[in-house]
Symmetry: C2
Subunit: 138 residues, 2 copies
DNA sequence: ACCTAAATGCAACATCATTGCAAAAATACC
DNA sequence: GGTATTTTTGCAATGATGTTGCATTTAGGT
């Protein structure tokens, strides 16, 4: 992705243009799977851990990334669709975690079923599937 | 639940009978919702944190409890059905987390839909729903 | 170019979880 | 019941993950 496009993405989400944000955004756009903090840190070791955490937080707050919970407690982060805004995230897609390589993918063509529970209010639903991914299954 | 029943449950899962395991098991059987580690610790503060962690691990390994992932990274633990064995856990039920009181319930009458992804092997699927529970919604 | 508000780096801190090891307890064996 | 063997426990130390305060630097508006 071109420098100007990355810059526009940041601007569109009212985020200041900084080296760290550009590099983080670029890494996410060129990676086809979600990234853990660890992966991010080892890839962009120029920046302080704290800065990377804060970058992730601002990206999530502004709707650039979404946080993907993980059964092991480690969160990963994936790029949001265009439909996401700071006010309204729509992440009803299923997440797949490979037990072999650890990669987490967003399965945008699979959707989380609507769950209705009488007497309850449902705000969010996360479906996390684990197993072997395409490459590791080969 | 009677002392003898608790003891039998432990024996059935080939776990030694210890004070800690009896107390942890009793707490889980008399509680209708899942328990976080924190709740466990504050309830059973006689025991060392490490011992409680190890108790949880052995219970999970032997199929007495199952771990419930949480989008915040804190896991909770719930009792397994009778159908669970050390070899085969079956937790295709949906978990509900209340944003207000924090309680996590196992919705045994809701089941996680089977997810099929071409070229992938699916081992596990976790569906976590959050919102307001029955009591907090009232 | 200047000013203001935001972002960064560093250090310290907070929280959650695990490991090594000696002492204590539980089961197996006689 | 008494003893040997294995497991479990408690304590201390360590690791892993994430956050906060604060001084310095940087970005963007004027």
């Amino acid at each position: 992705m071109k420098y100007s496009e990355l810059k526009n993405t940041l601007k569109k989400h009212s985020l200041r243009i900084t080296d760290c944000r550009m590099d983080v955004l670029e890494l996410f756009t060129k990676t086809d799977h979600a990234l853990s903090f660890k992966a991010l840190e080892s890839e962009l070791d120029v920046y302080d851990r704290v800065t990377l955490y804060r970058t992730l937080h601002s990206f999530i707050e502004k709707g650039v990334l979404h946080r993907i919970p993980d059964d092991s407690g480690f969160a990963s982060y994936g790029i949001c669709h265009e439909t996401c805004t700071p006010q309204e995230h729509s992440h009803d897609h299923v997440h797949f975690k490979c037990d072999e390589c650890g990669h987490i993918e967003c399965l945008s063509d699979h959707h989380v079923p609507k769950v209705v529970i009488p007497g309850y209010v449902v705000n969010e639903a996360n479906l996390i599937v684990s197993g072997l991914c395409n490459s590791c299954n080969a």
